[in-house]
């Protein structure tokens, strides 16, 4: 039985003539312990799909099962409890509560399970320890580096031992070193048996995934298994075939990376996760996306 089973899921925003189809009869089945990267341009429906899988949103049509249990009709409360027990979120903007210490932030999901403060903080402390942030327990989020903040956020996502981790562009606000750190951390978590879904614009990150799902205009247009350690084949091709290179992409997901690569030009950045490899790859396919865009 698949861990996540999505059949004919649609999401429509607005009414009548003003309605937008964010997801168009999407079917997706994810097994336990997969590491799925979801790629696609802005507005392709990645985030909407993640929100529905993460039980933050409800589909307009279609059915959604987690471990065989129908969840699309659950009440708000039941969904909140499912989120608490089964799903861990990691956001691009870290989303730690600024007034709470790292320890308290990590312990937060346990509070909603009704654990005593002592037990909560103990559990959070050992989780923080596991992720190597022990000396930052009593820091406030604003006193941490980007990588440390995201590590704390991952600790928070893991504290309830969820079966699914949903990461929406987890490295979007990080420099390349921190990005690698975070991805390797996620990779370790995956090796421990947790299912991971990650939304990204960055084909480089597909190295860590076991499967890559490509989306466009609210539909899944391609779905492939990948070998560990390599950029997914389509993702590599996508760098040239898919109209990945749009202004929105620049603005939305990629601009952060542009900042960290010195002298990086936008057409190069889109295909490169890290500085070291960036130069090689960009040399091999010089200017292709740009020429496609020009034709358009």
């Amino acid at each position: 039985m698949a861990l996540i089973e999505i059949s004919d899921i649609s999401k429509v925003y607005g009414f009548g003539g003003a309605s937008t189809v964010a997801l168009d009869e999407v079917n997706l089945s994810i097994e336990q312990n997969e590491f799925v990267a979801i790629m696609g341009p802005s507005g392709s429906g990645k985030s909407t799909l993640m929100n529905i899988i993460g039980l933050l949103d409800r589909p307009t049509h279609g059915s959604y099962k987690i471990s065989g249990r129908n969840v699309e009709k659950l009440s708000q409360n039941q969904r909140a409890k499912m989120r608490r027990d089964k799903i861990g979120f990691i956001f691009q903007s870290f989303s730690l509560l600024p007034r709470l210490t790292v320890l308290e932030n990590v312990a937060l999901p346990l509070a909603y399970r009704g654990l005593s403060t002592t037990r909560r903080l103990k559990a959070a402390s050992s989780m923080i320890n596991r992720l190597g942030l022990a000396d930052r327990e009593y820091y406030l989020p604003r006193h941490l580096s980007g990588g440390q903040t995201q590590t704390a956020a991952i600790a928070r996502a893991l504290i309830n031992t969820p079966s699914i981790i949903i990461a929406d562009e987890p490295t979007g606000n990080l420099d390349s070193n921190d990005s690698r750190l975070i991805m390797e951390l996620l990779s370790d978590i995956h090796k421990d048996g947790t299912t991971i879904l990650i939304v990204t614009h960055n084909p480089e990150l597909t190295r860590y995934a076991t499967r890559v799902v490509y989306m466009r205009d609210g539909m899944i247009i391609h779905d492939e298994q990948t070998s560990p350690g390599l950029v997914a084949p389509t993702a590599r091709k996508a760098m040239s075939y898919l109209p990945f290179k749009t202004e929105e992409d620049d603005l939305a997901g990629v601009s952060a990376l542009m900042k960290v690569i010195p002298g990086g030009d936008s057409s190069v950045d889109i295909k490169s996760g890290r500085k070291s490899r960036a130069s090689k790859k960009s040399k091999s396919r010089p200017g292709k996306p740009r020429s496609r865009k020009a034709k358009k």
Binding site: L56, Q76, N77, K81, R83, R84, S95, Y112, T117
Partner: protein
């Protein structure tokens, strides 16, 4: 769940601390409301107790005969001295009639001189009441003479008895025996000095500490032959026979007045009821004003909570994403409102107690510490927190997690 509530308070205190000055300003309304309510009630209770003490000091068996039908409802105007009825419906005959009743031990008239000029040497002194009466006034008021003697020679002449406060005002000393003074052109001297009267604030009775008693006949002379008697004080032989004596006085006086009852016979318990009703009325009115302050304070809390909720939309999104149910979010924000209003309540109680001590030290008031009111006020602040926190908290709980997360 219990432990979670405790954590809730901690979380609430922390988020309120992060906007400390705003929180302090917000609870100000509650602080004022609670402090005012408790102070008003404690002062009111204190005054009632003091009046009761006052009456007990004079003796519960005192009977007061007044001209006209001076009813308790008129008691408000009775506080203001000028409205004492000086209608000459009680006469020397009435006094003699009452004195002749078998169950009456003492009877004394009180004739209030209408703003007389009081002089010591050439110096005019004001703010002292001059009352014409007889020697019986001393035992009737349960009082004794501290120095000197009562009016000489059959209660006539120009000897006077003086209260302590009046003595100080007139002569600058509590001991003023044999000193001379002048009332409306006639010379008097101090023949006796009365002990201290227990005086309650807001009492409808005269403050006898501030009175010069002159012989009834002298008072009559000063006012052109007859002394308008505004009340006759009567003490029965047996304190248990008050009602009998009251009935006797009523029937014999009505008969003497040709069947018209143009006077009233009051017992101390009437007087107590009258003053209590005034104090109660005033307490209620001022407490209502304080209640409005509390209400406004509640609105202040609601306002702040609404701002807080919209400022912390992102936080609400994160909390929901990590599994907070709507109910848990609701509870978190209600808890914040409660912490605000209850801490306002507690500060209000402390301020009220400080005011209480201050009043005891610096004024004649003896406010009580009304524990039930304090408990009520604290409970009320809790209710205010819940009631005025509910709408903002519900707003927070209803937020869509995706929308909320976008606010970060």
């Amino acid at each position: 769940m219990k432990s979670f509530s405790r954590g809730d308070i901690g979380v609430a205190v922390r988020s309120l601390r992060s906007s400390r000055s705003r929180s302090m300003l917000t609870i100000f309304g509650i602080v004022i409301g609670i402090a005012a309510t408790i102070t008003i009630v404690s002062v009111g209770d204190g005054i009632k107790n003091q009046i009761a003490d006052n009456i007990n000091n004079v003796g519960r068996d005192l009977i007061i005969v007044r001209p006209d039908l001076l009813q308790p409802t008129n008691a408000v105007s009775a506080i203001v001295n000028e409205s004492y009825s000086t209608d000459d419906s009680l006469s020397t005959n009435d006094l003699q009639l009452i004195e002749s009743l078998s169950n009456v031990q003492y009877a004394a008239p009180l004739s209030l001189l209408n703003s007389p000029t009081i002089k010591v040497g050439n110096q005019k002194i004001s703010g002292i009441q001059v009352v014409g009466t007889t020697n019986d006034i001393v035992p009737i008021l349960n009082q004794s003479l501290q120095y000197g003697d009562s009016f000489g020679g059959n209660g006539a002449g120009n000897g006077a008895m003086i209260g302590q406060a009046a003595s100080v005002k007139l002569f600058g000393s509590q001991v003023s025996l044999a000193r001379n003074f002048n009332v409306a052109g006639q010379n008097f001297f101090i023949r006796g000095e009365l002990g201290s009267f227990y005086s309650a604030p807001l009492s409808i009775d005269l403050d006898f500490n501030n009175v010069i008693f002159i012989p009834y006949s002298s008072a009559a002379n000063l006012q052109g032959g007859t002394a308008p008697t505004y009340e006759i004080l009567v003490k029965p032989t047996n304190p248990n026979q008050i009602s009998t004596v009251v009935a006797e006085i009523e029937s014999s006086l009505t008969q003497a007045h040709g069947g018209v009852q143009n006077f009233s016979v009051l017992q101390q318990k009437n007087s107590l009821t009258a003053s209590n009703s005034i104090v109660n009325l005033m307490t209620k009115l001022i407490a209502a004003a304080a209640g409005i302050a509390l209400f406004v304070g509640g609105i202040g809390i609601m306002n702040m909570m609404l701002v807080t909720v919209s400022e912390r939309t992102g936080e609400i999104g994160v909390r929901k994403a990590v599994g907070a149910t709507n109910r848990q979010i609701l509870r978190q924000f209600i808890m914040e409102a409660i912490v605000l209003s209850v801490s306002g309540g507690i500060i209000g109680v402390v301020i009220a107690l400080l005011i209480n001590v201050g009043l005891r030290i610096f004024t004649v008031l003896q406010p009580t510490i009304p524990w039930p009111t304090i408990a009520l006020a604290t409970g009320l602040s809790l209710v205010i927190g819940i009631v005025f926190g509910l709408i903002p908290a519900a707003k927070a709980a209803r937020k869509d997690p995706i929308e909320a997360l976008r606010h970060q």
